[in-house]
Amino acid sequence: MTLDSDTRRRIIEQLRGARGERPVPSGGHPSTGGVFAALLEGRARIVDCFDDGRRRFVVLEATPAGEPLSARERSVVLALAVELSNKVAALELSISQATASAHVASALRKLGVDRLTLLRALAVIADWLAPAELAA
C-alpha cells in the first residue's frame, strides 16, 4: 500500500521545518535498531516511502495485530538490509536462490510492501543497525 499524493503532500507540509538531526561522527544510540526490530516483530509496517527531492520519508504505522517474521524471513530481510544480492544471501544462508526468493516474498507479504519500497526504506533504516549486525 502506498499513500495517495495528497496525503504525501500533507506529510511533507507538516514536516516542512523538520529535518534529520545534524550528523554526529558515529557511535550507537540506545534505541539503535528499534524501528527495524519493530518491523521484524510485526509491531509496525511500512506504509509508504517517498522522496521530496532532498529528504526521504519512510512512513510507518503501528500494527497491534501484526504477524512477526519467521527466523528465515528475518534473515533474508537482514540480508537485503546489508545490500546482499539474492545470490549471495542464498549462499550465506546455505539455501537455494528459489528458497531465498520465497522467504523474501512471504516477508514482503507480512510487511505489506513491495520489494522496491522495502529496499528504499531499508536504505534509511538499515543505517540504524548496530555495527555487529551490519558485519553479519
Binding site: 534529520g20 512512513v59 533504516i125
Partner: protein, 116 residues
Amino acid sequence: MGFSGSAASFLVGAPIAEGESVAKPSARLHEVVIDGRTYLVVLADGLLTEDALSRGEASVARLAARGLCNAAIAARRGTSPRTVANQVARVLAKLNLRSRHALAAKVVFDDLGEVA
C-alpha cells in the same frame, strides 16, 4: 489508532520525544496525524538517492561510504570488483565528487538545510 502515549514508543518500548533522534545520525522520527491516523515518519537528510543513481549504484555508494573496499563490495553484491569500480566511478561523476572519501563525507555530513 489506540496508542498509549507517544506512538513512537511502540518502536523502542519507551517514549520518544517528538523529533528525537532514534539512532541514525541524519534521521529522525516524527509523529504525524493525518485524518485521525497516526503515522510515524522516519525523515532522512543527505541521501544518496538522487534520481540519477541506479539502484545498484546507490547500493554501491552506500557501501563505499561505509568504508568497504571494492573487493568487499563485490563479494557482498555477487559482482566483480571491476563492475564495482565502474559503478563507483559513475556515482562520483553523477554526484560531482572527486573521491570515495568525499562520498563518505557527503553521506555523513551532508546537511543542506531547508531549501525553499
